[in-house]
Amino acid sequence: MTVDLIGVGKSYAGTAALSDITLSFGRGVTGLLGPNGAGKTTLLRIVATSIAADRGRVRLLGGDPHASHAELTQVRRGLGYLPQELGYPGDMTTYGFVEYVAVLKEWNDRRARQREVRRVLELVGLADLAGKRVAKLSGGQRRRVGLAQALLGDPRLLVLDEPTTGLDPAQRATLRRTLSVVAHEATVLLSTHQTEDVAALCERVVVLAAGQVRFDGTVVDLVATAAGRVWLTDHDVPDAAVTWRTGTGRHRVVGGSPPPGAESAEPTLEDAYLLMLGADAAVSALPA
C-alpha cells in the first residue's frame, strides 16, 4: 500500500483532531468526506508530511517519514500536495510560481524544468496565462495553479485538500478528467465538501466525523446504506433525522420512520452522507 496509517492520532492544545485512525490507501482516487472540523485537513497534512502525528505509525511510499531526514526527503520526492490554502506573493507570475515550486522539488536542469512547468500548466489549462500575475487570476484559476504545482513530476502520491473549491462545473469536469488519468499510476487522496465530486471522482470514500472514521468503502456501498430510508412526502415531518423542502415543493425525508402516505425515493450519495452523520448533520442544518 502507498499509505499506511495505524492508530494515528493528533491533538491541538488538548483537543483531539484525529483519534486512532487506521487506514490504508493504494492506487486510485479516495475521497475524504466530512463536515468542517472533522479532521480531514489534519489527516491530509499528516500524509503530506506537513505535520507530524502525535501517536501511531505512519508509512508513506514504503518509507517512515519520522525515521530519518534522508527517509523523509525520499518520501517527499514522490509526493504532490495541494494545501487547503496557498499563498502567492503579489508580484509572482503563474509561470514563476510553478517554477519556484519545481526548484523546491529539485528540478535543477533549466530545460527539463521549463518543459515540466509548461506540461503541468497545459494539463490544468493555464498555459495561456503563464505570464500573468497570480494575484490577478480568478479564484478558480488560482486553485488550478495550486493543482499544477501538485502535479509536477507525476507524483506517486497526490494529496489534494479541497481541489474543487472555486471551480465552475466545466472546470470541475476538466479536473475529473485530469485526475482519472493520473489515478492509473498514482494514489490520489482528496478531501471535499461536495458529494457530487466524490460520486464522480472516487472509487472509495472515507467519511470522517469528529476525528474518527465513520465509513470506509465504495461509493455504491455508501449509497446502499440509505436504501429504503429516503422518502418523498407532501407534508413536513418534524421528527425526521434530516428533511428539507425540495424544488418541486415536496419534502424529502432521510432516516427515521416512514411518514404516513410517503413515497419511497431512490437514495443519493448525499442522502447516505447526511444519514451517516445523523445528529451532527441535523444540528448543522438548523438555522442558527
Binding site: 523523509l72 500536495y81 499563498g87 502567492y88 514563476g96 526548484v103 522539488k105 518543459r115 509548461r118 503563464a130
Partner: protein, 275 residues
C-alpha cells in the same frame, strides 16, 4: 510566393531532405520551394516523425513563451550561482527591490543624521545592524504561512531554503551598508564594526524564530538592539556598542545561539519543528 509551378519535389528528394542527406544549397532551395508549394508540403508531412515534430514545436514554444527571468535570477546567474538558486531567491520578499531600497533609504537618513550633528554615531549604529537582521526575519514566514506551506513539504528542505535566503540577504545588504558607513564621522573601523552585532543577531533571530516565528523574533531583536544603543547614548562613549569588550560578548551570544539551533534541530525529530 506563388504556387503555380509545374515542378514538384519527388518522394526520394523529400525523404533525403527529411533525413538530412541534402547539401546546404539543395536543402535551402528545396525549403524555398516548400514555402510556396502546398502540394509538396502535404507530401512531406507523412515523412516527418510526428513525435520529433511535436518535440521541436514544444521546445520552440517553451523558448518563446517562457517569461524572461526576474533581474535577481539573471544576477545570480552572472555571479555564477546555480540558476535554480536564483529562482528560489527571486521569491524572497526581502530581496525585492522595494525592500532593499527602503532599507537603504532608512540607513541613508541615519547617516545624514550623524553627519548633521557631527558628534553622534548612534543613528547609524542603530539602523545598520538591523538591516540584515530584519531582512532575514522578513525573508521567510512561519511554517503555517500559506506560501511557506509548500516549502515545508518539498524535498529541497525548509531549513536549507531559510539559510540560502539569509545568505542572500547578507550579500545584498552588507556591502552597501559598509560603503554608507564610510561616510559616518568618527573612526573608520566603525564602518565595519557594526557587523559584529549584526552577525550575532542573525543566529539569535533564527534560534528565537524556531520558537516564536520570524516576525516576533525580528521585532524582539530590534527592540533589544534599540535598548542597547539608546541606553549607551547618555553616559558612554559614542562607539561603546561596537567596542572590543562588547564584541566579545556578542561573539559569546552568537556561539550560544548557533549551539541552541544545532541541538534543537538534532533533538527535535518532529517535522518542521525547528526553522
Amino acid at each position: 510566393m506563388t504556387a503555380d509551378t509545374t515542378w514538384h519535389a519527388g518522394h526520394t528528394l523529400l525523404r533525403a531532405y527529411v533525413e538530412g542527406r541534402l547539401d546546404a544549397v539543395l536543402g535551402a532551395s528545396l525549403e524555398r520551394h516548400l514555402d510556396g508549394c502546398p502540394a509538396c508540403r502535404a507530401d512531406i508531412r507523412p515523412l516527418v516523425d510526428p513525435p520529433l515534430l511535436d518535440q521541436s514545436w514544444s521546445g520552440l514554444r517553451t523558448a518563446v513563451e517562457s517569461p524572461p527571468p526576474p533581474w535577481l535570477v539573471r544576477l545570480a546567474r552572472r555571479l555564477g550561482l546555480p540558476e535554480s538558486t536564483g529562482v528560489l531567491l527571486a521569491a524572497t520578499a526581502s530581496l525585492r527591490t522595494a525592500w532593499l531600497s527602503s532599507a537603504f533609504v532608512a540607513l541613508g537618513f541615519a547617516v545624514a543624521a550623524t553627519l548633521l550633528r557631527g558628534d553622534v554615531l548612534w543613528p547609524f549604529l542603530l539602523v545598520a545592524p538591523l538591516i540584515p537582521v530584519l531582512g532575514v526575519a522578513a525573508a521567510y514566514g512561519p511554517s503555517e504561512d500559506p506560501f511557506e506551506a509548500l516549502a515545508v513539504t518539498a524535498p529541497y528542505g525548509r531549513t536549507r531554503l531559510i539559510l540560502v535566503r539569509s545568505l542572500a540577504v547578507l550579500v545584498t545588504s552588507v556591502p552597501g551598508a559598509c560603503l554608507l558607513g564610510l561616510a559616518v564621522p568618527g573612526p573608520a573601523w566603525v564602518a565595519v564594526a557594526w557587523l559584529g552585532p549584526a552577525l550575532t543577531m542573525l543566529p539569535l533571530v533564527l534560534a528565537l524564530a524556531s520558537w516564536v516565528g520570524p516576525r516576533l523574533a525580528g521585532a524582539v531583536m530590534a527592540l533589544v538592539w534599540c535598548g542597547v544603543v539608546l541606553g549607551s547614548v547618555r553616559r558612554l562613549p559614542a562607539t561603546w556598542p561596537v567596542e572590543a569588550t562588547q564584541q566579545l560578548t556578542y561573539l559569546a551570544l552568537a556561539t550560544a545561539a548557533v549551539a541552541v539551533l544545532l541541538v534543537r534541530s538534532r533533538r527535535t525529530r518532529r517535522i518542521g519543528a525547528v526553522l
